[in-house]
């Protein structure tokens, strides 16, 4: 709260050579004008005496003055004070003595400790602000490449380094670890000719995760230059005197994920505060790297789980079977689709395609349960409607809200398909003459929802082809189901024979524009009639 009248007390400091108060005028200063008058670098004092010549240049006819900044929180009798960020100059235009200067100098000396504390607190707040904003940004990302580049740029700026690098370790699909790096403040070519840093005396504490290394001049550090072949920096390396390196350690596993390295060509550039900032950013980077690794792992887990539960279609005499399962390209929706091909007694074969609502590990798990249940009831020789009825009952018992669509069809040696459909998309039959029949549409509710699943029969003769598929093939947020199903019919009608795995992949690519954001599973069966007694 500005204190009224405080400005007039300060104005009274301006006295003539005779010690008597002189007329004082208030001049409001903008932030820019104020910074012209401030005799200091960085944080300005709240009240100061400006250089009379500079003041006179700004306020015509001024002989002396006292500048009161907005931070001082002082106001005049009328309650008016400096604008935010600006100041008020109390200006005299007559001959003025040195009284005001002496008083304010004495005041400044007396409050120097307070001013210092304020400066320190302000700097701390700036550090916390910087850390907080970098932390928020880093930990809200999952894309590894963006995390590391953003972290490197933020850290290099925060510590005032000429350049910075972030070396981080990754493990490839064969379990071999390898190291990548990002740079900030230096082009990639500046480092390309050099090998990766090794565990030398200088680098070891960082790569081993022992702690921060800070040196005002690394070239005179006892650890420096002890290793062949370079004994110091390789020829052509960017000049480094000031050196700061911070390990990045996983908060979950304790593993060293990498390290930040900062350099400056002048000695003594890095302070306690820089070290603190670098360590803070390293901490956030570790969390961000952990997040992106865990996310990747979850995604791979769902993918692996789905894949491991999907069968290889067994060879069946008289049928050419192609099956495809393509996990969602965008990752987060993997896990719900399945297919199955089940040989049944009496030369019959069951074809199953299904889709579990949801995604990730949960959907993959429910998919495993659904697939197992269907398989068990199928090999018992139950008719399609009973297989789906029993499976639906089993799934409803597991969880209250299962929603699984499933098309179940049994091919018998007599050239028929008996089928039931639990809320799944219709199947396609391409006859030997090239005409198409779409069948099984809207026969029943999904498993976990419905209880009765009517059964139908359709002719599946020699030369006929059957296609079962999941909705990822025909539907997306940007493509209407009805339109997608129309495209599919046209595409299937145009497929050359015989239909191979490559042709099926081509069909998926054509229909999804190469970027399916949902799982796609399909079974294509051609009745060759060969090998059947």
């Amino acid at each position: 709260m500005p204190r009224p009248a405080a400005l007039s007390s300060l104005a009274a400091l301006l006295t003539g050579p005779d010690g008597r108060p002189v007329p004082v005028e208030r001049v409001v200063l903008t932030a820019a004008q104020r910074s012209l008058l401030c005799p200091c670098d960085g944080a300005s004092p709240m009240v100061f005496v400006p250089d009379p010549d500079v003041l006179a240049a700004l306020v015509r006819g001024a002989t002396a003055g006292v500048v009161v900044t907005a931070e001082a929180g002082l106001a005049g009798d009328d309650g008016a004070g400096p604008p935010p960020g600006g100041a008020v100059a109390l200006v005299a235009r007559t001959d003025v003595g040195e009284g005001h200067r002496r008083v304010l100098e004495a005041f400044a000396a007396g409050t120097a400790a307070v001013q210092h504390t304020v400066d320190v607190l302000r700097a701390e707040a700036a550090v916390i602000d910087a850390l907080n904003s970098v932390g928020r940004r880093l930990t809200a990302q999952l894309d590894l490449d963006r995390v590391v580049q953003d972290a490197t740029d933020a850290a290099t700026t925060a510590v005032g380094a000429a350049f910075g690098a972030f070396f981080y370790n990754l493990v490839d699909q064969f379990g071999e670890s390898y190291t990548l790096y990002t740079l900030s403040g230096a082009p990639r070519e500046a480092f390309e000719r050099f090998p990766m840093p090794r565990n030398t005396a200088v680098f070891a504490p960082t790569f081993d995760g022992e702690g921060t290394v800070r040196s005002p001049d690394i070239t005179v550090d006892p650890r420096f230059g002890r290793n062949a072949p370079y004994h110091g920096m390789p020829e052509g390396h960017l000049p480094v005197r000031s050196y700061l390196a911070v390990p990045v350690i996983s908060p979950t596993s304790g593993e060293v994920l990498g390290g930040f390295f900062f350099g400056h060509p002048e000695p003594g550039r890095f302070t306690d505060r820089h070290e603190y900032l670098a360590e803070g950013i390293a901490g956030y980077s570790a969390i961000a790297l952990d997040n992106s690794r865990l996310f990747e792992r979850e995604r791979n887990l769902a993918r692996e789980l789905s894949r491991s539960m999907l069968p290889e279609a067994p060879p069946v005499a008289g049928l050419e079977i192609v099956t495809r399962y393509l996990p969602a390209a965008t990752g987060s929706k993997i896990g719900g689709d399945w297919f199955d091909v089940i040989p049944l007694p009496g030369d019959a074969t069951a074809f199953v395609i299904g889709d579990v609502v949801g995604h990730g590990v949960t959907a993959a798990t429910v998919m495993g349960q659904a697939r197992t249940a269907v398989r068990c009831y199928a090999v018992l020789g139950l008719p399609p409607s009973r297989v789906l009825h029993q499976t639906s009952a089993v799934l409803s018992a597991f969880t209250a809200s299962t929603f699984v669509t499933c098309f179940y069809a049994v091919h018998s040696a007599d050239g028929t398909l008996r089928y039931a459909n639990a809320g799944h998309l219709p199947a396609l039959l391409r006859h030997v003459d090239g005409t198409l029949t779409e069948f099984g549409e809207a026969l029943g509710q999904p498993l976990g929802v419905g209880a009765s699943f009517p059964e139908r029969t359709i002719r599946f003769g020699i030369g006929d082809e059957l296609l079962l598929y999941t909705d990822g093939l025909v539907e997306s947020r940007t493509r209407d189901l009805t339109v997608g199903m129309g495209w599919l019919r046209s595409a299937v009608a145009a497929l050359p024979r015989p239909v191979t795995a490559e042709l099926c992949d081509g069909l998926v690519a054509e229909l999804t524009g190469g970027a399916h954001d949902d799982d796609v599973a399909l079974i294509h069966v051609r009745n060759t009639g060969r090998g059947v007694a």
Partner: protein, 123 residues
């Protein structure tokens, strides 16, 4: 077709679910695609709506652009868990929304109306 940025996890919903209390019931207005990212929000809002013990709970999909199976699962859940005394109605028109409901025969079970007015008229 480019998708808007959907957050670091790629699952920030691009639509919304808003709850409105009206005479005789509660209306949940769904905008944008009712997909994997928006379905959990619909579930939360349904729970909130049911706590208000409305005579009629209307889930208005008129402004929705896509009904994924995960969205249909939520409609069934709402219908089956709303409890005695709460009539759940769905407002949906056009093949974009009706086709998936027909293919899964949820049309047998859910009370579907073509306008919000119709859905509330019988309240």
């Amino acid at each position: 077709m480019t998708e808007p940025d959907r957050g670091p996890f790629g699952n920030e919903p691009s639509g919304s679910v808003r709850l409105h209390e009206v005479p005789g019931g509660v209306v949940l207005v769904v905008t944008g695609p009712l997909d994997l990212s928006l379905a959990p929000r619909l579930r939360r809002e349904v729970l909130r709506a049911v706590r208000l013990r409305p005579a009629t709970l209307v889930i208005d999909l008129s402004a929705s652009t896509f009904l994924a199976s995960v969205g249909m699962a939520e409609l069934v859940r709402a219908h089956r868990t709303a409890g005695a005394g709460v009539t759940v109605r769905i407002v949906a028109a056009g093949p974009l929304l009706l086709r998936p409901l027909e293919l899964t025969r949820l049309t047998d079970e859910l009370e579907i109306r073509s306008t919000l007015h119709d859905a509330l008229a019988e309240a």
